[in-house]
């Protein structure tokens, strides 16, 4: 098992692609938040907490600040790095403070304003309530909100930034959380080649293989990976073999309902080329592995999604190797180079 993890880790290091080139893209002119024309209206109520330049800059500084953790070593960016669409590069599951290891793969932070819940199990229903979770998780940042707010309030640079964002120097939980929400809500990824294709914009040309991949995707994948987010945000069991020892029950940990056991949130597929490894536990290092799972690896476990089991009991999604390759070539058109290189989102 240990060797498997090692091999998987090496593979993931090798296969995880970083955005082309290191050159940052300067986008200072662009508004910090806009609803892309091919997206629905946001779920988040932006009228209550609009993204302002000052709030965004404050949230950005907080996002990259290790002081949010107990010993100052772990910032949000530790597990959510921009070049990898804000995921934890090369880590099957996230690594936190004192090298403690979580049990789930850090999801990307993108298009948060459209999300109805957060975490693989959907345990948090409001973006503004999200940030305390990693901060207080003993495996991640292991700090109290009391200490975080006190540390931030003791820093005159921060106090000045709070004043610029909110009118007074007061540092409180609400302002702190709303600033982080502003930064995260600005992380809109909607400029992949695919987006330009659906918006009929220059640069939106898809190859014959990619178009065929799109057609297959719509036929075989989009009932779950639907809409502009490429996720219907539901919780489903996609037939991964659960670990024998201490299996992750997923959504049932939050709802405590047996019908939610082994269900996890359908992830967005945007920027999937940058976000390896895959699945809630990061068990697959490549998209080939993912497609192989759906084609031939689905296990008939408790609460398996009905869409993955045909009436005559055949598991998974029928895919030839050509079809798999075409779907993968389509998935790579969901890469938003501008997003992962936008200098506004980098460490201040």
């Amino acid at each position: 098992m240990r060797y498997l993890i090692l091999i998987a880790g090496l593979l993931s290091l090798w296969s995880c692609e970083k955005a082309g080139g290191e050159v940052p893209i300067i986008n200072e002119e662009k508004p910090l938040f806009e609803v892309p024309s091919n997206f629905d209206e946001p779920v988040y109520d932006l009228s209550k907490n609009p993204v302002s330049e000052e709030g965004f800059q404050l949230g950005r500084k907080l996002f990259y600040d290790g002081r949010l953790s107990r010993d100052g070593t772990i910032s949000c960016a530790e597990c959510h790095g921009q070049p990898y669409a804000f995921t934890h590069h090369g880590h099957i599951v996230s690594h936190g403070i004192d090298n403690r290891v979580g049990r789930r793969n850090a999801p990307p932070i993108q298009n948060t304003a459209w999300m109805t819940s957060f975490f693989w199990d959907g345990g948090v229903f409001d973006l503004d309530l999200f940030s305390p979770a990693p901060i207080m998780n003993p495996l991640e940042m292991d700090e109290t909100m009391t200490n975080v707010i006190d540390k931030i309030a003791a820093d005159s640079t921060y106090r000045q930034m709070f004043k610029e964002a909110y009118g007074t120097e007061e540092v409180n939980t609400s302002r702190f959380l709303r600033a982080l929400s502003q930064f995260m809500n600005a992380l809109v990824s909607a400029n992949s080649r695919y987006d330009k294709y659906v918006r009929n914009e220059p640069g939106g040309e898809l190859t014959a293989d990619e178009l065929e991949g799109l057609r297959l995707f719509e036929q075989k994948c989009s009932s779950c990976h639907s809409g502009a987010l490429f996720s219907d945000q539901s919780f489903r069991n996609n037939g991964l073999e659960p670990f024998r020892i201490d299996p992750d029950l997923g959504r049932a940990l939050v709802t405590e309902r047996p019908e939610d056991r082994l269900k996890f949130k359908v992830p967005s597929l945007r920027n999937i080329r940058f976000t390896a490894p895959y699945m809630h536990d990061g068990r697959f290092s490549s998209l080939d592995d993912v497609l192989d799972h759906y084609a031939a690896g689905v296990q008939d476990t408790e609460n398996l999604d009905p869409l993955l089991k045909s009436e005559d009991g055949i598991l998974g999604i029928a895919l030839t190797s050509t079809e798999k390759a075409q779907i993968i070539s389509f998935l790579k058109t969901l890469s938003d180079e501008e997003f992962v290189r936008d200098s506004r989102f980098a460490a201040p």
Partner: protein, 262 residues
């Protein structure tokens, strides 16, 4: 004739009496006063001293409580005439370690004779899903320090928290921990551990203008262990799930009683 006279006299007397009473009530029952709800956590008939008082439950398990906190909200007082006074958006945490927190002061309570007190142990579902900006005071997680009263991974407050040590606990440090929460879920129905404590007062809580009355409430820790359910520390030293918590909340919903009014 005589009887009519007496009847008439009696009638006048009754009218006068009613009239007098009303006038008297009018004099007394104007303005508003203060009600203090004093929460006294006890173990049976003994005082609870955190980390010191050793007690045994009905299963013969010795224990010492080291932490005892709970939310009190949605307080309502009902007067004899049916008038109900609510205290919306007032949330409190009673902490055994913090004496000041054990006295909940309700201001501007209209004068009256109240005989019925209800309150909730926990944070109602509406507040539990409210925007973060509405979570101030004891609902602000900044206020918790190391004594956390909020589940960050499954958004919701810990309504009732009791921790301690017991030689029968199999956990490191022989600890036991009961963290009870669960408001019923936002989008999916989940276990609900909100408990409303409904107390008919044995004597009226008389609220008078510019004065303060105190209702002395007792929480008996022994009843948290032994009520409708018998909790055995050896079996479940740690209860932090909502479903498991239902046994505990069922017990503590009957562990609060009105001791006296003063």
């Amino acid at each position: 004739m005589k009887s009519i006279f007496f009847k008439a006299a009696g009638f006048v007397a009754v009218i006068t009496f009613l009239f007098a009473c009303e006038t008297m009530n009018d004099d007394e029952l104007t303005g508003s006063g203060t009600v203090v709800l004093e929460f006294d956590n006890r173990i049976g008939s003994n005082e609870l001293n955190l980390g010191q008082t050793v007690a045994s439950n009905n299963s013969g398990e010795e224990y010492t409580v080291t932490t005892l906190n709970y939310f009190v909200s949605n307080i309502q007082l009902t007067a004899m005439d049916g008038k109900t006074i609510s205290f919306p958006d007032q949330y409190y945490i009673v902490r055994e370690a913090d004496e000041a927190s054990q006295r909940i002061t309700l201001n501007d309570v209209p004068a009256g004779d109240y005989h019925h007190l209800t309150y909730m142990i926990g944070v109602d579902s509406l507040k539990s899903v409210s925007p973060e900006a509405e979570r101030t005071g004891v609902l602000d997680i900044y206020s918790y320090g190391d004594d956390n009263m909020y589940w960050v991974w499954n958004s919701g407050y810990i309504f009732f928290k009791m921790e301690g040590v017991s030689p029968v606990s199999t956990k490191p440090g022989n600890v036991f921990k009961f963290h009870i929460g669960g408001f019923g879920g936002k989008d999916t129905a989940t276990p609900n551990n909100l408990k409303v404590i409904d107390t008919m007062l044995s004597e009226d809580l008389a609220v008078r203008n510019m004065s303060s009355s105190t209702a002395h409430v007792v929480l008996d820790v022994t009843k948290v262990f032994d009520g409708i359910n018998s909790l055995k520390i050896a079996e479940t030293p740690v209860i932090m799930d909502m479903t498991g918590g239902m046994k505990v909340s069922a017990n503590y919903s009957s562990a609060f009683s009105m001791d006296h009014i003063h």
